[in-house]
């Protein structure tokens, strides 16, 4: 009982802007949840669905969540809405695939659900657009196993604050574990495609994961491959702009920057930073220490490996001989957690495909990575990526042309087209 009262007190302290209208709150929450990223397609109407998502069972298409009564969720009651978001059960009783992060959204408070409902029902324009059928092989099609899945993997609704932590930490935990559904990408998944853990109590939570040809790095305090060397201010800066002195957002984090975290209040960003900074390292890594011999060799023209020579001709004029580049605009390669990760998927992916413009609050960033899939062969990309992973004191392993070849097949190039998904 005592516990519950404390929880209520903590949650009361969370309201983001005192006196905001419910649907303004709802919009803010929809931002925090980045609903638009999955429930829209570039150039399409907001929240009308249709985005293709790969999953282990087949190709799924996200659904129309505009208030259109026939094709959207216009006929949902608050209870229906709550059930779908926190339990993964649609109004007609069918079970949603867990590409919809309802195991995370289960953490939402009832009042946030109500605000979201208000927003979706009253502020989002209804769009009549029928949902696309999922492409799932028949033997995987029955949805009843999801019921079992849900029982096993979906926690019961609501957020239980940790009374040993302060309000800021709990607010951060609520946002990260709940609406932010950061674990959907950053937490490793188990054999049933479930996130191995859904909150800070488990050390696998946000410990890094490979999803959709990207490696979403660990958000724990690992010194080399996590956020161990980032200050809380730097974490918040990253979420606000997509950039800081360590790294630049890429992959699906681009969607998060484009639609979500820059819209959060500074106090919410600080809360997220405080929460993330508290997650202990999973491995005792030594922090990255610069080795200046790489830069000296490159500057004096000593490029004894093919990878080094490629670096000089293709990378060095921007990322510089010391790999320090020009942060926060152009990310460093020396000591960058993504470069140091055991899993090289993201680094290979970026070299192959380049990066999409990050658009923080409507303003695209000034610099972007070009793609090299057309200019460099698998062998060359493997050579240059291996070089980068072993230069300037970086101590990650070499990569093989086969790894590059596989990613070349399964990924698409980026482009300079500025994609902003509009919520209005």
């Amino acid at each position: 009982m005592k516990r519950l009262i404390l929880a209520a007190a903590l949650l009361a302290g969370f309201s983001f802007v005192a006196g905001a209208m419910a649907n303004e709150k709802g919009e803010y929450l929809a931002r925090a949840g980045d609903c638009v990223a999955c429930h829209s397609v570039p150039g399409g109407r907001a929240f009308a669905g249709g985005l293709k998502m790969a999953s282990p069972v087949g190709t799924l298409y996200t659904t129309n969540i505009t208030p259109d009564p026939e094709t959207g969720i216009g006929s949902y009651t608050l209870e229906d809405f709550d059930r779908s978001i926190r339990r993964g059960i649609a109004r007609d009783g069918h079970r949603l695939y867990p590409a919809m992060p309802y195991p995370s959204y289960a953490k939402l408070t009832g009042s946030d659900i109500a605000d979201l409902y208000d927003y979706f029902m009253h502020d989002v324009p209804a769009v009549r657009q029928a949902n696309r059928a999922n492409e799932i092989p028949p033997f995987l099609s029955p949805r009843w196993p999801l019921a079992v899945w849900n029982v096993v993997y979906t926690p019961s609704p609501g957020f239980t604050p940790d009374p040993s932590k302060d309000a800021q930490w709990n607010r951060g935990a609520y946002l990260v574990e709940g609406l932010g559904h950061c674990g959907a990408c950053h937490s490793p998944r188990g054999t049933a495609w479930q996130e191995k853990s859904l909150d800070a109590r488990d050390s696998s939570f946000l410990a890094g994961a490979n999803l959709d040809d990207w490696y979403a790095p660990s958000l724990r305090a690992n010194q080399a491959t996590g956020l161990g060397s980032w200050s809380q201010g730097e974490i918040a800066e990253f979420l606000k702009t997509g950039h800081n002195r360590h790294a630049v957002a890429y992959g699906s984090m681009g969607d998060v920057i484009n639609n979500s975290t820059p819209y959060l209040t500074d106090s919410d960003l600080a809360a997220i930073a405080a929460f993330l900074a508290s997650l202990p390292a999973t491995e005792a890594e030594t922090a990255w220490v610069e080795d200046t011999s790489t830069a000296q060799a490159l500057l004096s023209g000593k490029t004894d490996t093919a990878g080094a020579a490629l670096y000089v001709s293709a990378c060095q004029t921007c990322h510089r001989a010391n790999g320090a580049a020009a942060p926060p605009y152009v990310p460093p390669l020396a000591g960058n957690p993504t470069v140091l990760d055991k899993d090289p998927a993201s680094l290979i992916n970026i070299v192959l495909n380049g990066s999409w413009p990050l658009v923080a609050k409507g303003r695209p960033d000034a610099y972007r990575m070009p793609q090299f899939r057309e200019q460099l062969k698998d062998r060359q990309i493997a050579e240059v990526v291996s070089f980068i992973r072993g230069a300037w004191g970086n101590k990650a392993g070499a990569v093989s042309p086969q790894e590059v070849a596989a990613l070349r097949k399964s990924t698409q190039p980026s482009s300079d087209n500025i994609v902003v998904l509009k919520m209005r």
Binding site: G354, P357, R363, P364, Q371, E374, Q375, D416, I418
Partner: protein, 732 residues
Amino acid sequence: MLARRNFLKASLAAGGGLLLTATIKAPAKAASLGKAGRDAATLNAYVRIAPDGLVTITAKNPEIGQGVKIMLPMLIAEELDVSWDRVQIDQADLDSRYPAQTAGGSTATPVNWLPMRRVGAAGRHMMIAAAAAEWGVPVSECETLTGLVLHNPSGRSLGYGALATKAAAQPVPDLNTLKLKDPKNFRIIGQPTRNIEVPRIVTGQPMFGIDVSVPGMLYAVFQKCDVHGGKLVSSNVDVIRALPGVRAAFEVKGGNDLRGLLDGVAVVADSWWQANRARQQLDIVWDEGDITGQSTADFAATASRLASGKPAMALRRDGDVNAGLAKAKTVVEAAYSYPFLSHINLEPQNCTAHVQDGKVEIWAPTQNPAPGSKLVSNTLGIPESAIKVHMVRAGGGFGRRLSNDYMVEAAWISKVVGAPVKLLWTREDDMRHDFYRPAGFHFFKAGLDGNGKLIAFADHFVTFSQNGEVAASAEMTAAEFPARLVEHLDYGMSMIPLRAPTGPLRAPRSNGLGFAFQSFLDELAHKAGVDPLQFALGLLGEPRLLPDPPGPRAGPGFHTGRMRGVIELAAEKSGWGKKSLPKGTGMGLAYYYSHLGYFAEVVQATVNAAGEITVDKIWVAGDIGSQIINPLNAENQAQGAALDGIGTALGHGLHLQGGKIVQGNFDTVLPLRMRQSPPVEVHFRVTDFPPTGLGEPALPPALPALANAIFAATGKRIRSLPIKDLDLSASA
């Protein structure tokens, strides 16, 4: 022979000295070079000899890297008989006294060769006349020596400078009866002559369009619809106006002419960076119009569908191709295609304009200023007499700057903001708003007899139309090689409607046709079991002139002997058939006649097991007539053209998707780079024909020569471009 309308005027130059102005109608023959050539048929010259002997020659044509700014003055200076280091060259503005200020079609040499020399000779003649009068001796006793008139009997001499003012009073000689120098006495023509601009280029002096700066100038960018000709519906331009540095942001309602002012949003700011950053926040709703079928994949599918039927239009029919094919021992069928291309001048399109008090001043890196001035006049409603266009050095032309869309955009924006404006496109603008080299599809069928002789040849050419007409630079003529050399021949054409605008790119038409035809002919040689060199010589037969089919494009015809000559020269220099090459290495031969020039090229290339290509070397053999005017530049142009062909074959190619160009920068369109660039040996065969240009004709054979070399190296036939999109690995 020159026509009668030639007009040379001598007058006193301001500040003393002789001023020669000539208006010359060039022979009609030169008009066989397509549109640019027809315009280029009126020439002009403007020569000033100052009292100090300094000769100033105004270069009237736009300089785009082809070296014309040096070449035309060389012709005048030669016959004027002055020392080249006493010659100074001025760049003309667009000026009604110079009616043909255009760069295109490799026309400058054939069109100017005699007329410019005659202007120089007239000046020399007047110098002699002035000196003879001064000394009271007969003209016949005088001669000239690099800027001096000599009277050998008395040992007297006078410099041109001293004579210049008096020469201005001499009667003007008849241009057509002037005696020109015997080429063996040339002192300037034929000498390797350095480009006088290089010292300024290598020290970074401002000289290109992008470098223009005028007081009070603002910077502009212009966002158009990426579906060409799409209409603007609405935009967030008021949001843009409030961004840092922005002075103006406004919507532009343009017309329907893809070469004119189109719908878009202009952003004008204190700096270009600010303008472009603000523009990136634009949110525009476009009406793209009908884009059905406007994708690369759709085009390919449509082409195959069309190819299964009869051509919509016959281009040429000799004999009976079906009978020929029926008689043939071997029938070979193959489909070839090449992609849309952008010009990718390294200097993106730009223009500076100032519209003020009903007058317009324009600084433009253009290949074709006169139509630009007309376009600005029509669009802004300002008479041409109130428009001044300065031609500024262009960072590459390749045909792109024959269109003046950027010029009218700059003028319009300047008019709206009431200030001088420099409009600069991004690379992405440049690639996505070009006048593309049209893609093309060729469905070939050919028959070889028992001796490997080509007896039947058919091409169903699927190309593009715009507004019902064949799109610009998308046509093929009835003279296309090997027409006139095969007994049974049939060329037909069908068209696919296209939204994107097209236009000439260096060696227009030939740059695609050459690849398709010369690759297929190589394929036939191999099928016939005949060495490609022998196959080519056999096809060409005895040296003779094959007249062009009559029609507006009829030129001087095709000379089989000149083609044989360059093929044999290329084969000899490259050691064709005489070298034993390692496995994975092969040589390819191709030859092509375009822009009055005959070129044959041999490429040696190596392909490793992973499919990586190394171009080892290129041998270029050309016949551009009796005289190479500036060998130093000729070599540079020929090397550049051949390498351009290699780069195009390897790495250029655009895709359309929903009417939009997908590629935007040099990470997806890959121009040749140093690492890929082989040595290029250039050899000229000097023949008795009038000199012609070479900015273009050295390009077309390079693509098929490379493709044929790759076949020789790997056994893999390249039937589509660019090669970067093909898998040539051993396992493929």
